[in-house]
Amino acid sequence: MIKILWIDDNLDHDLTEKRMALYMEPDFDPHFARDATEAYYRLRSESFNVVIFDLRLPAGADDMWNDLRAQDYGKFGAKLISMVSNGLEDEFRQQAGSRFGVFSIEAPEENPELFEPPVSLPKDRFMKKTDVYYEEDFISFIRKIAAA
């Protein structure tokens, strides 16, 4: 069983069909989070095989993001993936065996820091939303990450 956490704030809108497709895969155990706060606590308390991040996420209710909120920061997903990568031996030890992927509207070139330490995301684990139209392509993307 591949336990997946997909973090995206558009799950109710244009991503609904992809979301349902995850439910219907026989060996997927999908979970979802809509904002950085929700994802932060899920990632601390549960381990996942695959975690898919959207880079442009809302912060959520927690006060830990107040400084960034004050600067009008919008890429809380990027911040989160960096936090988790930095904390794999500590508060995010549950994700020590997880594989991360990015599914975002942005292009890889706009986010060079993701491909450097501490995140060091392999290039093939970054997928632009506009490049994935069909649910099967999204499923394949997740399976590729899980198998890596």
Binding site: K3, D12, T16, P26, H31, F32, T37, R44
Partner: protein, 427 residues
């Protein structure tokens, strides 16, 4: 020859002439009636009765003050316009004004008589300008009020509630009642969301106070009678954005429960049960409005807050009865995840884990009993259950038999029969 401006004032047929003053008074009174009447008419026509009543109770000072002032000014004008009164005032002023104040203006000499008349003319001018200006402002303000009256009322009640709480650590019963009324009566969309934002401010303030039983009771009451009611009330209306806002508020409350180092909330059983109950209510309301997205979101939240599995089962079961398979599938997945997660944490199957499995089996059985694709999907879950139970030297069939007893005792005979069917016709 007197200057034309002065002629306007100092001429029997001019500004202070009898006919002119009589017209001015009747115009002023008509104007006041118009200014009071038009907003009232719009109010009566477009604002629901419940909101009107609350607004009149909370904002009556405004129109009372305005009306009082306008009335006094109109009466003053009316009195001054009487020739005898005018002559008396003029005479009284002449007594006060000293002779050395006599002066020339635009080549015309002005005596104490002229100055007295001038003072009265100035007073009349000021009164007329005041009536017109304040009436105009009142009219414009009321047109704007009509557009955001709900927000004004909600803001006022929230301010009142917080003020009261800071003084007495309680909230007025009237404030609870009015908030409930607004929750039921407001139109869906932005208006309702503005109201919910005011409720959120009050709840957030209470959450940031030192924890106490009183605070918890007030918060629970606000959640039940106001926040959740705004989307669950049978006769009311709400939309997807309103349901999202309510979920946000419930998450805010849940987020304030202390967390242990692993991130799980350590809310006491009662608080967690209540939050789960409120989430469930929102989920059912979402389902009744065909808001699949919000219902699935509720299921996710019920999983995240580690709510009683029966809440997830309830939503899944309701969705199954209404043929909303997306929601049913989300629910059955979460019940499976909950079961597996819980078992993995303790590495055994205790009565607590069994309850989760029974709820999982229940939903699985309902889908299996339907046959066709539904049964095919349920078959997958049955196989997953067999694998899981084998790990702990248990049989899925035995768990199903126990699940049957579980639902039978709960008098959920429909689900009990479905489980019996699954037991006897295993995939």
């Amino acid at each position: 020859m007197m200057h034309p401006v002065l002629l306007f004032f100092f001429n029997d047929d001019g500004f202070l002439g009898n006919e002119w003053l009589a017209s001015a008074v009747s115009l002023a009174i008509t104007y006041v009636v118009f200014v009071m009447g038009i907003p009232s008419l719009i109010f009566q026509t477009f604002i629901p009765e419940a909101l009107r009543n609350i607004y009149n109770e909370r904002f009556s000072d405004q129109w009372r003050n305005f009306f009082g002032v306008q009335l006094i000014l109109a009466v003053a004008l009316f009195i001054i316009s009487n020739i005898k009164v005018y002559q008396f005032l003029s005479g009284a002023l002449r007594q006060i004004i000293p002779d050395w104040l006599n002066f020339k203006l635009f080549g015309t000499a002005f005596t104490a008589d002229d100055i007295a008349e001038g003072v009265i003319a100035l007073a009349v001018t000021v009164i007329i300008i005041r009536i017109v200006k304040s009436g105009f402002k009142y009219l414009i303000k009321n047109f704007q009020t009509t557009r955001n009256i709900a927000h004004q009322i909600a803001e006022k009640i929230a301010e009142n509630a917080l003020r009261q709480f800071k003084l007495t650590q309680t909230i007025d019963e009237k404030d609870f009642e009015d908030l409930s009324t607004l929750a039921k009566e407001l139109k869906p969309g932005q208006i309702k969301n503005q109201f919910l934002e005011e409720c959120e401010k009050v709840i957030e303030y209470l959450l940031n106070q030192p924890p106490s039983t009183t605070n918890s009771k007030i918060i629970n009451r606000l959640l039940e009678e106001t926040v959740c009611l705004s989307i669950t009330y049978d006769g009311g209306q709400s939309n997807h954005e309103n349901r999202r806002k309510v979920l946000q508020i419930l998450n805010l409350v849940n987020g304030h429960f202390p967390r242990n180092p692993n991130g799980y909330t350590t809310a006491n059983g009662y608080d967690k049960t209540l939050i789960g109950y409120y989430f469930k209510k929102v989920g059912v309301a979402a389902m009744n409005h065909d808001d699949t997205a919000s219902a699935i979101e509720v299921i996710e939240q019920l999983y995240t807050i580690d709510a009683d599995p029966k809440e997830i089962f309830f939503i899944g079961n309701q969705a199954f009865k209404s043929n909303n398979h997306k929601i049913t599938i989300a629910a059955i997945h979460k019940l499976k995840s909950k079961s597996i997660n819980s078992i993995q944490q303790v590495n055994k199957i205790t009565p607590k884990e069994k309850r989760m499995i029974y709820n999982w089996i229940g939903l699985m059985a309902k889908m299996y009993q339907r046959g066709g694709s539904s049964a095919s999907y349920a078959g997958r879950h049955w196989n997953d259950l067999k694998q899981l139970s084998a790990t702990f030297q248990l049989h899925a069939a035995d768990l199903a038999a126990e699940a049957y007893q579980f639902f039978f005792r709960l008098t959920d005979f429909e689900t009990a029969d479905a489980v019996r069917y699954l037991e006897q016709n295993q995939p």
